[in-house]
Amino acid sequence: MSALISVDGLVKEFRKVKPHEGRLGSLRTLFTRRYEVNRAVDGVSFAIDEGELVGYLGPNGAGKSTTIKMMTGIVMPTGGTVRISGLDPWRERPCNAAQMGVVFGQRTQLWWDLPLRESFRLVGAIYGVSPADYRESLERFVDLLDLGEFIDRPVRQLSLGQRMRGDIAAAMLHRPRVVYLDEPTIGLDVVAKDRMRTFVEETSRAGETTIVLTTHDLADVERLCPRVILIDHGRVLYDGDVQGLKATYATHRELVVHLAPDESTGRTPAVRAADVLGAEIVSQEQGVARIRFEASRIAVQHLIASVNQNYPVRDLSIVEPDLEGVVRRIYSEGLTP
């Protein structure tokens, strides 16, 4: 069985007019154009199976949105291929479009001046949803996303969170097979984010909807995505599960030691470099020492034993690497495990 979505060597170049510098530069730019080519997507390949929920991650300007615009058939690829259940989204746009739903969190597909309900009607009509299905879907969304209170208000009067919920519903009302969510949690408060996550989780659970999710909030990813694709400068850096990402890139852990004051002197001792088996003491303040060690080189139990032996320990804890730390490191230092 071949994958539902297959992206192969995908490239998108943007050509920008490069202005001439110096005197009469702008005049020269008008007549002799020099172009500057920017490869926003530079040979991206991946395959996604039916029912998967994949986090498509990368720093600002990595090429995420551009990839999604090509997968949705909005933008023509410069090179490479995209196939969504065998269809070329650019050439067979209407067929592909009929089975997809899209949220671009920074914009809205809702009809600004009209009540929210009107936008849903429009989606229902455009995708040929039968009246019975429409009613059922709408009821479900009103329920799950709590739209009841503002469904009859003009969209321009909605808060960002309300609007985003409306957008999600509009993107999924016709039960698309593939859903692209480009930053669906941007600007939402904690409660609204949580609601959104629950909704995406619920939708994915049935296994009938394939979801590609782009976000800068890694809590979304930890909660929702079994698999992530990480890109930067238009290239895939990592494709696999979140655990694997951590294991590959988060090679260091931290031992946090709370020291007890010395019984005789009443002073809290400091951990010396000699007693940590070559690990790095990151900080030492008010009786709390943070020791960073490479898990593959230093065994935790040895480190703990050594500390226990030499100091009065009140409490010990190991801080596992979080995704945010891992991703921050990859974004800033590049791909060297």
Partner: protein, 267 residues
């Protein structure tokens, strides 16, 4: 195409409802058109002083022409959809139009149909006032009416195609408002809304003959008042038909190129 009919119909309805929420805007447009007809009627009445006919028309026919051509132009040169397309492209919201299973051009046509239907309603509402400030009357003859109907439809189709074409400028440049204003001025002048094309000085008249605009205003309006009749009217209809063909081909070609250019700002 048939599968997209319900969607397109829904766009028409939504567009009309949107126009409804901007009633004041429509009211203002009504005032502008009524003033326009009023000023032109006064002006031409004064200019007729001491003459029986101008450009082969009696004063009454002339004023009827001015009123009819301006009422048509009121609906035909509606820029709502140009403005809408421009905003969609500028903000990148056009992604949502481009991701629909319905083509972008049919969607634009539906937007226009909705906007124009509302305009027609507002024309009907304003007719009593137009009757006072301008000149309203029946077509010159049953034959004139029979020719006017297809000519008006052709003129409408040409206007719509021109609007689609000019809207697409937004895909090439984000600075379209100056262009749109200039276009509207040229369109209205060469359509003959200020004076009939037959009164243009020679070079302008030749130019008008080479442009599609007189097909949207001057031709149907002169058929209505009986100034263009018989063979001349049939020839005029043929010219309109030719323009539809040319503009339809141009629209297809331009859209084909525009689609490849779509980069979508921001994201």
């Amino acid at each position: 195409m048939t599968a997209s009919a319900p969607g397109l119909r829904r766009i028409v309805v939504a567009r009309m409802k949107t126009a409804m929420t901007y009633r004041q805007n429509v009211l203002l447009l009504q005032v502008i058109v009524i003033l326009n007809i009023f000023i032109l009627s006064r002006l031409w009445t004064t200019l007729f002083e001491g003459r029986d006919t101008v450009a082969g028309m009696t004063l009454h026919t002339f004023l009827l022409y001015i009123t009819v051509v301006n009422l048509q132009s009121w609906v035909f040169t509606d820029l709502t959809v140009n403005e809408y397309t421009y905003q969609r492209v500028r903000t990148g919201e056009v992604v949502f139009d481009l991701m629909r299973p319905i083509g972008f051009v049919p969607q634009m046509l539906a937007h226009m149909a909705g906007s124009h239907l509302f305009m027609v309603l507002s024309v009907v509402v304003a007719l009593p006032v137009v009757l006072v400030v301008g000149t309203l009357g029946a077509p010159a003859s049953p034959a004139a009416l029979a020719l006017y109907a297809p000519s008006l439809v052709f003129g409408y189709v040409i206007s719509v195609l021109l609007a689609v074409l000019t809207s697409m400028v937004a895909f090439w440049t984000v600075e379209t408002s100056g262009f749109t204003m200039l276009y509207r001025l040229i369109n209205q002048f060469f359509a003959g809304t200020m004076l009939p094309v037959s009164l243009f000085p020679e070079p302008l008249r030749i130019l008008a003959g080479l442009l599609p605009f007189q097909s949207t205003g001057y031709i149907p309006a002169t058929i209505y008042v009986g100034r263009t009749e018989g063979d001349a009217a049939l020839r005029a209809l043929a010219v309109q038909g030719l323009w539809i063909l040319i503009l339809a081909l141009a629209t297809t070609a331009v859209w084909h190129r525009a689609r490849r250019r779509v980069a979508v700002q921001g994201g």
